[in-house]
Point group: C2
Chain length 656, copies 2
């Protein structure tokens, strides 16, 4: 059969696909990203599009599809191209937008009405921190980058000294840097003869020296002085951020961020694994998707810095969770998801850029942060390095990163225990009626008047409200409880004297924003099921903390520092988070926002061999606690499903 | 412009080329090999073809082209495709033939009328030696192959023992084989999870353990018992021979030989280097040419052994001269040819099959024999290993390999000196009016009646004479001298009472075979210029031997063994070679034919880590004597341009 042409509006991008292809896949082929948190299962309803012309067919009937159809829309994932060309409009609410990076002069958030705005705000702040405030990305480690330059003047060959070129080079190098084991890749040997003779046996060798082994990355003629570049990449499940570093000056030159193109295979790591394992060529597709994402970022950075060639970037460091690391390297992630949850690898081989198709020097070395277990990845190890929790004199500290999973590390110097609790993606807006990620129009702060039950709120970018994001949900839960809208178990007090309290389709609900004040032409409400989901999420996190403490025999009060990491962190209202029992009731001054520690740790490791070595030490020394073994976690979890907790003595400063 | 179709007869192979392409290049594209010792310069006249239909154009006029044209032929290298399709016939005399390998039941030489017959005879004898006579290819070294198999039963993963798969594997391996440094390639890690679980964590690991480092080549499910295969390849400038080995049984399973497809870029290494350096994409073309040659041999071996898959071959060892090693690995050979004659590398990296496009297990390791200098390569090191000259108790021995260059090694245990003398390709038939390689119809033995000057001779395969090959030329020179046809300086005695002595186009000449007894319809003669060329060739070899002895302060009589290597060796008449002053005048029983020591040494190194280690030791310990430095060699050379020598005391047993 002949292919059909699908035109996506408003971008006007066209793609040819076979009849029978669904529109989500077609959009993916066109590099247009449509929201699909469920991974194309037809269950989340976020991928609604409008067919402007041409006939289509539904994959199957469903209540959701019918509801969507009433609005004149179709679920992209369930709508199949037939025998006609199509014109398809993607509403703003379904679009993840093209990648968009804040330029030097862009005003933060102005007009950035997309999923990235908040995250990019965050990147921007980090950038400001690193660039304008001149904070060193080394964070105390010595500058000793993973790729360095050695300038050599070799003895000129003649009939008396007729050693071969390779020997001439390695002998001189051994003398210069005092090493034994030097590996020169074939691709460099192939052209070594010419290179040595361009500038009369004066050459610059770029090399990486890790664990006593020297790997040659490039040999260049003469004694050049151009900067030496590396790239650090934080591979998040949602967002990927790259940092261009000057390795010799030890500073960040620029950053670029975009969303992970894998998003079209689902929002969470499980959906990605399922796609990789179950679809034909799925692993390669998901793998190429993240490689493509990173290559786009590299091009972004280079386009901004026009004098840098791709091949001038000689080393890359990545940090991401265990699934991201597997997919980045093309390692089958199948067993991460199946009990007993075994990753194929926790320590990853150093590979060459060309093995992965990364668009930098093909011989560049690509390092990946080691993981600890299937659900405690290199991003957490990177964060642990950044916080210095593993340093000899470190007090007892807790690092906590709340996303789809709540990962945490508890420790002090010698010992570090870690776990991951399946908090669920409630704080990311998933499973919440009007939940959403932190983007334009999301409610992020909220007050409820204890007398009138009127709601005051602020939204991201001050846009008209379209939903409520994580920090807003925590505020909301705290305020619902403190004003008595819900009780300690999350049950709604339906008798409240306000029309905001009503019985909706799913039971009791509380109206947060009236229809006329929204941008979605519907009342924004929170319902009892939402509250239950939030309680489970916050309960899992707190139970995780309690379990770790229990394993090592400490109490909440022993914790000297709590590091709150991740994009979510900076927007979290700590007192509210304590009030609902998400975070421990210890003095607020012991809490520290540490931001995107995964990215910061990646930069550190790239700039300092000592940091990289310590990162590997940390990964090796962290003890992983599998919460599904034994009853400890489950008991703690059940006790944590109240606000703030069943055991009120754990929250002495929270008023009930 | 549109491409034109060229049909080559008798094979009927067709190829499309652009107008302006020469027929030698067109034939190359069609994988048809035409002789071109001059590398397509239009100077050797060996590539004559017959245009059956279509119009062509000569690149330029030349006397040679005119002479060829008189016979109704065109030089393929000088004949350009025009605007018509062509039919081109390749005469037998210009064809190198398709590769042709003696099968198990083929009778040697029967009907094998091509350049390979003699060489293949040689391969056949080696094969007989190895297969039928059960001679061990190990030659005294222990069986300890470069790829071996370790069977592991790993602890099954569960919630209590949730180490990652890679760690589980490497820990078990370290315990089993007591090693520290294990490298697992990414391609294996990518699918490791599935592999471990096919047979409940029972796996077979194929690995190479060299110099304390372990490289994993494959991980296979279960504890299989299929044979473990490797391939040893002798990369000759003219001929390439591959040996399929059972690594665990330590035996050769089969061999296959073919000519080196690079021949179309010229007969000798210099032509190949010139092509690689000066033609657009030349290096890659010449590189791919040898890779293609080897892949053809691999397929040959595998087709014969139908149950073996390409991917079942896990390791390869190659030995060849320095230029061949460079071209095999795609290393620019430019500086081998230019003073001070520096190879890019003497010790080559171990690479993966996939880096070179070799059609075996992509992760298979490919080892290359180390060279000593630009003109003393891995083939000589391999031969030195085979002769055991470097062993502690070895007597003073000389290894000599006469081809285009005469390479030789002199030594005893601790010390080894080596050199290469530009003997020129006279013994390969080049530069000799009726010279030819050892192929069908070549005169290989000769007697001249001292009274009548009648000539008795034998030819290869007893075919009608077409020319004279190396062993025939040595016989010829010795007999010309002993019968007084020439004097000690190589000057013809034109007054001899025989019509065989006459003045030809180039001066005095002696008829070896009358026209009616030949297969070429011309008298086969030897002329004074031929004799001069032969004297220079033999003189260079002998001068090389004397120079080496001089360097270490020994006399000819000190030599206890002379190993004569190479395809040439077995057919050499030693007394005649001594009589003309090519080889030293020491007792004939001290001479030993050792055959293709390059191939034999390659098999040894593949089957024994100890042999491989010793090969590398040898390459490191051999002292290369550059003959162009100082006057020593030149003085010796000038003294050697007589029969047998200026200094007759060096040849006490040769009657003048």
């Amino acid at each position: 059969m002949n292919n059909r042409l699908v035109t996506f509006l408003p971008a006007g991008v066209q793609v040819e696909v076979e009849p029978g292809t669904d529109l989500l896949t077609a959009a993916g082929k066109a590099n247009i990203e449509i929201k699909a948190p469920c991974g194309g299962d037809g269950t989340c309803g976020k991928c609604a599009v409008r067919i402007k012309s041409g006939n289509v067919k539904a994959r199957r009937d469903s209540h959701l599809a019918t509801r969507i159809a009433e609005k004149g829309l179709n679920l992209a994932c369930q709508t199949l191209v037939q025998d006609e060309d199509l014109v398809v409009e993607i509403p703003n609410t379904s679009s993840m937008s093209k990648h968009q990076v804040l330029g030097e002069n862009a005003s933060v958030g102005a007009g950035v009405s997309d999923a990235l705005s908040n995250y990019l705000l965050h990147v921007w702040q980090l950038k400001e921190l690193l660039l304008e405030k001149q904070e060193s990305p080394l964070n105390g480690y010595p500058l000793n980058p993973l790729c360095r330059r050695v300038r050599l003047t070799l003895p000129v060959a003649n009939l008396q000294d007729n050693r071969d070129d390779l020997n001439r080079l390695t002998m001189a190098l051994k003398k210069e840097i005092n090493c034994k084991d030097i590996h020169v890749p074939l691709s460099i040997i192939q052209k070594l003869g010419e290179i040595l003779r361009v500038d009369q046996f004066k050459v610059t060798v770029l090399l990486s020296e890790v664990g006593g082994k020297v790997e040659i990355i490039a040999v260049e003629p003469g004694h050049g002085h151009q900067p030496l570049y590396g790239i650090a990449v934080d591979i998040g499940t949602t967002t990927v951020v790259a940092y261009l570093l000057d390795l010799e000056k030890g500073r960040v030159i620029d950053t670029a961020g975009t969303h992970n193109r894998q998003a079209r295979f689902g929002d969470d790591v499980i959906s990605r694994i399922v796609y990789a394992v179950e679809e034909p060529d799925g692993l390669n597709t998901v793998h190429q998707s993240i490689i493509g994402t990173i290559n786009t970022l590299i091009m972004d950075l280079l386009v901004k810095q026009r004098h840098i060639r791709e091949t001038d970037i000689h080393v890359m460091m990545t940090a991401g969770n265990t699934t991201m690391a597997h997919l980045f390297l093309g390692i089958n992630p199948k067993f991460i998801r199946l009990e007993p949850y075994i990753p194929t690898a926790n320590f990853y081989p150093v590979v060459k850029a060309q093995e992965l198709g990364l668009k930098i020097n093909p011989d560049a070395l690509v390092f990946s942060y080691a993981s600890v277990a299937s659900y405690v990845g290199g991003d957490i190890v990177s964060g642990t390095l950044f916080t210095a929790m593993g340093n000899e004199d470190a007090p007892i500290s807790l690092l906590i990163d709340i996303g789809t999973n709540g990962e945490m590390v508890l420790g002090a110097g010698d010992w570090l225990v870690t776990c991951s609790c399946s908090a669920g993606p409630a704080f990311e807006g998933s499973g919440i009626l009007f939940g959403m990620r932190a983007m334009h129009g999301a409610i992020e702060r909220m007050q409820i008047d204890p007398q009138t039950y009127e709601v005051a709120y602020t939204t991201i970018n001050n846009g008209k409200a379209v939903g409520i994001c994580g920090s807003g949900l925590i505020d909301c839960l705290a305020k619902l409880k403190s004003t008595g809208v819900i009780d300690r178990a999350g049950k709604f007090q339906t008798s409240l004297p306000t029309e905001r309290m009503r019985i909706g389709e799913t039971g009791p609900e509380f109206v947060l924003v009236w229809r006329e004040d929204t941008d979605i032409n519907r009342d924004i409400v929170i319902c009892e099921a939402d509250v239950k989901n939030l309680l489970r999420a916050k309960g899992a996190v707190f139970a995780g903390i309690r379990t770790l403490l229990n394993v090592v025999g400490f109490e909440l009060e022993s914790i000297e520092n709590i590091y709150v990491a991740g994009g979510f962190g900076n927007y979290l209202n700590i007192p509210d988070a304590i009030a609902i029992g998400l975070l421990p009731d210890i003095p607020v001054e012991k809490y520290k926002y540490v931001g995107n520690t995964s990215a910061k740790g990646a930069c550190m490791a790239l700039l300092s061999q000592e940091a990289w070595q310590e990162a590997n030490n940390l990964a090796g020394k962290m003890t992983y606690i599998e919460l599904s073994v034994g009853n400890l976690f489950m008991d703690e979890f059940v006790s944590s499903l109240f606000i703030p907790h069943t055991d009120l003595t754990l929250f002495p400063n929270v008023s009930i």
